[in-house]
Subunit: 329 residues, 2 copies
């Protein structure tokens, strides 16, 4: 039976949506136990009795808040994040899920659980929506300065994750650049292009719009570019939604129009709402680590737990290690 | 009377939309002459007689096509782009507009017209739409590898362009990064942050979504990041449009709904259609240079010409030189 360690207190909205997500996940999947890390007295009243046997509480009282510095995370040994990571480190849990301070989770996971052999730096991956699927993009924030070899490792890690966890056969992989031609790119990306050429299913450079048109399954970039890409996408989606809503209001919509648009917005939201996909996996550490959004609701938490289970059930980490060795420069 | 040198053959659709744009501009603005550079025999039949006096044709027969290499541009002295640039270089025209090979225009302008004193590298700027205005972003493609000083110069050039050409008083300026805090950024952007601090109206780091919410007037980044940001924005806008259209089709829209959506799409297109803003100025060369999209229609060409006129009528280049000197490190 898999054990998933969950930081029960770290999210923006406290333990309630987290526990609701845990319960929703337990109802759907009978093959795991949830280890909630937090203050027992606060958590117990939120857990229905019939889940008693499948939810274990591990006491921890300190919560690293969003405004705290990630650099202190290693010293705050009584924090929910630290304790949950230690459960994984000590083999008492198989995976870690947190909607808390993402920087703290990342550094604790990297330093305490440790990197897979051959991984220079773990990377945060996220799924971006396309018309009829998703594209896995990494890194989107863990590493702002990357060299060419880091990017090549991200390509290998992304391919393995796409294949082993997302179930995509032979995932096509591109390097994010300012044009498709091999001659395009900055110094680092041009060097990375050469290092990636031996990888199977590497298609070369891709552009920003390729993330959303389904050209490839995996897109590789450094965390600085990845974060800017992510925020740009969110900004455009927000602005377009506002323009549409404003114009609808101004046009004194008929009931027909309003009903119609509600349907469209619902589908649109599902496509662009990243929370729907759960959380962002930190790929490259020795156990599955899922970084959920601070504002995660129960659905997002449920999906984050399923991501952790899918990763824990896969042979991902062994395959990452093997492929890094196989394609070593 | 201002003289605008226009590459009449360089666009994807040949001289027709270009000349239509020139005529539309001439009808609206009585204070400039258009110098069309191209094959006289091909251009003359497209020009109505009543514009004879305000359109001059400068013969040039070679056209640098989109698939040609920009590195040959300097050698192809009979090309429309080269000849049009030479008119500006020799003082026979005041500004340059082209929908042709953008790399060729950039290198010809930089090398033949020359950089403003103090400018290390000219930058391409573009306007991105917000709810109720636009944000100027530079660089979006001229320089893929930039150092901190390049970025600081872009900030100064962008501020002057926003103030002198776009008419924005005290334009707020931000540095594109992976978070708002001063501690965020990659090595180069963190150093640039420090160099930009003495600039008036520098607000610090901004994120990708800030480009679209009107937080600032000018956003600074390197050309690699700028291009990825631009293509990401286009990709998201395209995908959302497709999702909406698909869902409308599936829902068997009533006539009310369809009419309504046509209105919304028209306004939406106006907001996200970058062609509406004309072209992208190459800021930092000694005369106004406007790089229009290869697929520019008559409206885009007209607007590109107006941009060139606004820049030529301004004191932009002197102010760029003065400010670069004033804030020299």
């Amino acid at each position: 039976m898999l054990k998933i360690a969950i930081d029960a207190m770290g999210g923006d909205f406290g333990p309630e949506p987290i526990i609701q997500g845990v319960i929703a996940a337990l109802k759907k999947d009978r093959h795991f136990t949830a280890v909630l890390v937090g203050v027992k007295d606060e958590l117990l009243p939120l857990i229905p009795q019939k889940f008693d046997k499948r939810i274990v509480i591990h006491e921890a009282s300190d919560v690293i808040s969003m405004s705290d510095s990630a650099t202190d995370a290693l010293k705050r040994k009584e924090s929910t994040a630290y304790q949950a990571i230690e459960l994984v480190r000590n083999g008492k849990a198989d995976a870690y899920v947190s909607a808390g301070h993402s920087g703290a989770s990342m550094s604790l996971a990297t330093l305490r659980i440790g990197r897979i052999k051959g991984v220079s730096r773990p990377a945060i991956a996220t799924l971006m929506p396309t018309m009829d699927g998703t594209t896995l993009v990494l890194d989107v924030g863990a590493n702002v300065d990357c060299d060419a070899n880091n990017l090549k490792e991200f390509a290998i890690m992304g391919q393995v994750y796409a294949e082993d966890v997302l179930g995509i056969d032979d995932p096509l992989t591109g390097l994010l650049s300012n044009g498709e031609e091999e001659s395009k790119g900055n110094e680092v990306s041009k060097e990375a292009f050469k290092l990636c050429e031996p990888l199977p299913n590497f298609v070369g450079n891709v552009e920003g719009n390729d993330i959303f048109n389904g050209t490839v399954d995996v897109v590789v970039c450094d965390g600085f570019v990845g974060n800017i890409m992510l925020k740009t996408a969110e900004g455009v989606a927000d602005t377009i939604s506002k323009i549409i809503k404003n114009n609808l209001r101004r046009s004194l919509v008929s009931i027909t129009g309003a009903v119609l648009m509600r349907k469209v917005f619902k589908k649109l939201k599902l496509k662009v709402d990243y929370a729907e996909y759960g959380g962002a996996p930190l790929i490259g550490v020795k156990a599955p680590v899922i970084i959920a959004h601070g504002k995660s609701n129960a659905t997002a938490m449920k999906n984050a737990i399923f991501q952790a289970i899918a990763a824990a059930d896969s042979n991902m980490n062994q395959n990452i290690q093997d492929n890094l060795e196989k394609y070593k420069g």
